[in-house]
């Protein structure tokens, strides 16, 4: 239906940047998640695409057409708001029909389209009610129906599941994903919930403090975080990050008197880092506990997560912590000394000065 291109788009309030110059090319039919903590500029970016926020600099193209100066109504987009923004004085039917009426369609055609989309979202029995009488889940469906009914070029969603109960969120998550796939709709989805982003998006744009940290598939941002921020933010818990200093023979001196030799493919690249400090990062599932492991630590806590157990291992002091994901049946005691290795294909390196990953 549409591709969206952001070229050096930025948003300033006076001297303060809400969004630093940002380049993003969204393919036709792609599901993009803008992910980041609150205040990172993700919602501002979405609102700039919608035209609800002016752009300080740069251009936005929709299907190749420059829409930077166009009003929201001229952009052929639909938006789902965090708190749904259903018109309280109108019935569900009127709410869904509202975008169609702006185009002056005939009433019988409007009615047919409203009933079609209401059927799709299973809210056809609610059409006569006011939004205030609906559960938040049904309100969410009405908001989606209102966005879908016009068959716009793209969908913008601002934390659409944020106002829902936790148990309902999961159902809605897969429903929305399926709906957007069926519609082959280009979707930009703002969320601060990384699970949502990982589960739904084709690509994730991770933002922090107005800066794009990384644009990549869920697998890319998980396995190859581009910056320390992404490494910490993605995954629960985030990546284990240990600061080491370069020692002799390519070895890194890690906290707790540990010494670690990077896999051979990394050695040359790690040596390119200016300065002495190097950050090594690995996911909890990359920790391989074995008697002759190269690293030593002490178990600080054993947390049962049901299908697996998470060990918190301290290296030297309690500020240097490694989380390790182990089998739930394995027996570990708090205070126990353990030796472990890091799976060589799952280790990553970062330059603490630039906060960027070594590539």
């Amino acid at each position: 239906m549409a591709n969206i291109e952001l070229q050096q788009v930025e948003k300033r309030f006076g001297e303060a940047y809400a969004v630093r110059p940002l380049d993003l090319h969204i393919q036709d039919g792609e599901f993009i998640a803008l992910l980041g903590p609150s205040g990172c500029g993700k919602t501002t970016t979405l609102r700039m695409i919608a035209g609800l926020e002016t752009i300080s600099n740069g251009r936005i193209l929709l299907n190749g057409q420059d829409v930077t100066r166009l009003r929201p109504s001229e952009r052929d987009i639909a938006m789902v708001f965090q708190f749904f923004a259903l018109y309280p004085h109108l019935s569900v039917w009127e709410n869904i029909a509202f975008p169609l009426k702006s185009q002056g369609e005939r009433r019988d055609s409007v009615d047919k389209q409203v009933r079609d989309v209401a059927g799709l979202l299973q809210i056809d029995s609610l059409l006569k009610l006011r939004p205030g009488a609906l559960s938040s889940g049904d309100q969410q469906r009405v908001a989606l129906a209102r966005a879908l009914v016009r068959r716009p070029a793209c969908f913008l969603m601002d934390e659409p599941l944020g106002a829902l109960d936790a148990d309902f969120r999961e159902t809605m998550r897969s429903d929305i994903k399926k709906l957007m796939l069926d519609q082959r709709a280009t979707t930009v989805y703002v969320t601060h919930d990384q699970i949502e982003a990982m589960a739904m998006a084709d690509r994730i744009v991770v933002m922090s403090q107005g800066v794009v940290q990384q644009i990549g598939t869920p697998a890319q941002v998980y396995h190859d975080p581009a910056t320390l921020f992404v490494a910490r933010f993605i995954g629960s818990p985030g990546m284990n990050l240990l600061t080491g200093t370069r020692g002799s023979d390519n070895a890194l001196n890690l906290p707790g008197g540990n010494s670690y030799v990077p896999p051979p493919v990394w050695q040359g690249r790690v040596n390119h880092i200016e300065g002495e400090a190097v950050v090594i990062g690995f996911r909890p599932e990359a920790v391989d506990i074995q008697p002759d492991g190269a690293l030593t630590g002490q178990i600080f806590s054993v947390d049962l997560h049901g299908s697996y157990t998470m060990l918190v291992i301290t290296l030297g002091s309690e500020t240097n912590v490694v989380q390790a994901r182990v089998n739930r049946d394995d027996d570990y005691q708090v205070g126990q000394q353990v030796r472990f290795d890091v799976k060589p294909d799952m280790v990553r390196f970062f330059d603490p000065k630039t906060e960027k990953a070594v590539s």
């Binding site: 109504s73 965090q82 004085h89 509202f98 975008p99 702006s102 185009q103 016009r150």
Partner: protein, 329 residues
Amino acid sequence: MAASPIGSNPVIVATRVDKVGTRANVARIIRVVVSLAFALVSLIPISWMVVTAFKARSDIVSAPPKIFFTPTLEGFVNLLTNRVQIPQDQAKAKLAQPNLPLFDRIAAERGQAITGPSQYTGRVLNSLIIAGASTVLSTVLGTLAAYAFSRFNVPGKSDLLFFILSTRMLPPVVVTIPIFLMYRDLGLRDTHLGLILLYTVFNLSFSVWLLKGFIDEIPKEYEEAALVDGYTRLQAFGKVVLPQAITGIAATFVFCLIFAWNEYAFALMLTTERARTAPPSIPTMLGSGGIEWSAIAAGSLGFLIPVVIVTFALRDYLLRGVTFGALKK
């Protein structure tokens, strides 16, 4: 409940304990009594006025006051007509006519003949025109200004809002003389336009502030949704903001109307004949041969009716409106 004995079926009906029992009953009785007492205190002067309007002159001044009396339209005749005293025999001759209109008959019984209509209707009409126009103006302008102040980054917004509020800070009477002189030079004295402008300006500060409060309460996501749904800013305002602000607008409308309708001092100063409104003219009916209480009461009664009608028509919006949005649906 009797059909489902406890034990065989789950109990699904919960009863709120605080809604039953003697304590709740006592509270309800107290509420009713207080409401009645308040209604009584509010209504006594009005009912007194209504009763007086239909009393004959002797009944009005009798002490103790008469509760039962023969109603007469004498007050309304005095209010609505100009009359002259006629000799006794002429009055008798008039009364002998079979088809004598009701008002002429009442006048003739008191030895008077009607010479023409009084100015009262004209003045109530002036009041209607001036209060109506200024109320519509200040509500419409107030709504637009409040919307702009609520939604846009108007340069110097807080200063402007303070300035608007500051027009309320001094008692209007203080500026009657300057305004009198200005109006004389501008040719606005004794014109409808003059009073309409003046009342609009007085009410505007009130309506802007009151309506801004109401519009602030409406989340701006509704308009943004409408903008994205293909509407212009103005259409979004009309289709989404106005319907939700209607209670506030109705409340503001009634407040402005009551002010403009009741205003006395400026109307007295700035009008003489053409644009004179009802409030300054009712006291002039005091009459030459003693105070015409029934005419005054009748005049006040007629003056009361239009506001009552408007307030009654808008009553559904007012309950939430006059509590300044504090009472949610």
